[in-house]
């Protein structure tokens, strides 16, 4: 079971040592509809928690994605350039956005765990 933490804006971070992979949740991709383009950050960019990390373009509109935790961008998912629909088909796996070197792991404590996020989403419908 993946150890993902979530924000109220439906971003997730999956921690692995001192780095974390970020993306958006199943709920978010469903709300967005068909994703046609993802604008990814530059490798090396340093972000604070809550900074804009990516922009997702669906057919109808653009949506900002915010960094759930602060850190330096180590890697971005180049596959999304060729196939942005990965965000829709596999938002927790192949649809990942970027890998960050966490600047402050304590920030993770402020995020929701899997169960809490699940209840949060249920409360939205």
């Amino acid at each position: 079971m993946a150890d993902r933490k979530y924000t109220e804006d439906h971003e997730w971070v999956e921690v692995d040592g001192d780095s974390g992979v970020i993306g958006i949740s199943e709920y978010a991709q469903e709300q967005l509809g068909d994703v046609v383009f993802v604008e990814l950050p530059e490798v090396g960019k340093v972000l604070d928690r809550g900074d804009e990390v990516a922009v997702v373009e669906s057919v109808k509109a653009a949506a900002e994605v915010y960094a759930p935790v602060g850190g330096e961008v180590l890697e971005v998912n180049e596959d999304l350039n060729g196939d942005p629909s990965l965000v829709n088909t596999d938002p927790f796996g192949d649809g990942w956005f970027a890998k960050l070197k966490l600047s402050d792991p304590d920030e993770l404590d402020e995020l929701m765990d899997e169960d809490t996020y699940k209840k949060f989403v249920e409360g939205l419908s």
Partner: protein
């Protein structure tokens, strides 16, 4: 991430007669022009778009305004409000035309069909949902004493569009095969009275069907049980019409755009150019003679990032030359497309421009409209 449009309390929104059908088919409902409308169904916008271009898509456009206009000289009367040749419109023929204001700007675009009621001419009008109250007040007021408007608030309007539309509809009314593009006739569909025009807003062959609300709901359900037919929401309606180069009122055309600027000079009928007699005629005829300062064009941005309404268009030297009025992803072309206005000197297809998005510019090329070949069944 930012939430896309939280649902407002739906007690404030109007519902079309097909609302329950949309919900039963898993529609995502959004507010549009005061109505609760389906923006998409579970398969998504891209699938709905592609289905319409390969089979038959069913659209609920009941939120649009429908009315009859009647009077002893109703055709001439209506000509005082629009630039089209209405008097010369054959019975049973439909014309795309524009309600104009005194500045030569566009109040709304609409379809007008000439019909015969017991030998008397009348017009069947279909106007945009967001404009219908203003349009009908304008028409009634301007033609008071000369023509009477009968608004049809309980009529539904459904559109069946795509290369399979004829085959599908012919199983219910074989006479639909005989309608040519931009013509209309009474038919019986699902045992109910219907007025059917061969017209649409997708660039595909297809029909727009006006029926009573109850009858439309039942007939739409029947159509949806046909394997060739899929429900299509407003999201794909927008991507389809954009590929077809069709204007969206309030975005590509508005009260500040003239038909000439909008690339709709063809709506000014030949006799009307000689006679005038429509609002803003002096300005419009002047533009026809001398050219307009700006033009609506197609735009092809490089790469995959869509450019959206409001994006500034610049020339190679960075000078602002216009703005995007409609933009998005074109599923049939697998790339972004847009429409906008540019200074006429830079409006030739192939002209290189730059479009500002967020904090960077995207190279783009002016392109001819439409982006996709239409499939209309002309005579």
């Amino acid at each position: 991430m930012a939430a896309a449009g939280d649902t407002p309390p739906d007690g404030e929104l109007l519902k079309t007669p097909l609302y329950d059908l949309h919900v039963a088919h898993g529609a995502r409902i959004v507010p549009f022009a005061g109505y609760a409308m389906p923006v998409q169904y579970p398969d998504g916008i891209i699938a709905e778009h592609k289905h319409t271009r390969t089979a038959a898509g069913l659209f609920d456009v009941s939120h649009m305004g429908q009315a009859f206009l009647r009077g002893d000289d109703v055709l001439a009367a209506f000509e005082t409000l629009v630039p089209g040749d209405i008097a010369g419109l054959g019975t049973g023929r439909t014309r795309y035309t524009l309600l104009l204001n005194d500045k030569g700007g566009i109040r709304d675009d609409l379809m007008a069909t000439r019909i015969s009621e017991d030998g008397a001419d009348a017009l069947f009008l279909v106007v945009n949902a967001a404009c219908k109250d203003a349009d009908f007040a304008h028409i009634s007021g301007a033609l008071a004493g000369r023509a009477e408007l009968e608004i049809l608030p309980d009529r539904a309007l459904i559109a069946l569009q795509g290369p399979q539309a004829e085959a599908v509809l012919a199983e219910h009314a074989p006479a639909c095969r005989d309608l040519v593009f931009l013509s209309g006739a009474d038919m019986t569909l699902g045992g109910a009275d219907a007025f059917v025009t061969r017209s649409g807003y997708t660039g595909e062959d297809g029909y727009e069907i006006s029926m009573s609300g109850d009858a439309a709901s039942a007939f739409a359900a029947t159509l949806l049980s046909d394997a060739r037919v899929a429900p299509v929401g407003l999201g794909a309606r927008d991507s389809l019409r954009l590929e077809a180069g069709l204007c969206l009122y309030g975005h590509d055309i508005d009260t500040d755009t003239t038909p000439v600027e909008a690339g709709l000079a063809w709506t000014v009928g030949k006799r009307r150019r000689e006679e005038g007699g429509f609002p803003g005629a002096d300005l419009i005829l002047g533009q026809l003679a001398d050219g307009a300062p700006r033009k609506r064009v197609g735009l092809l941005p490089e790469g995959r990032a869509p450019v959206r309404e409001g994006a500034v268009i610049r020339d190679a030297n960075g000078n602002g030359i216009g703005a995007v009025t409609s933009g998005g992803f074109a599923p049939s072309l697998e790339r972004p497309i847009a429409m906008g206005y540019v200074a006429t000197a830079l409006s030739a297809p192939g002209t290189s421009v730059e479009i500002e998005i967020r904090n960077r510019t995207v190279a783009a090329e002016v392109a001819a409209i439409p982006f996709v070949e239409p499939g209309y069944k002309r005579a």
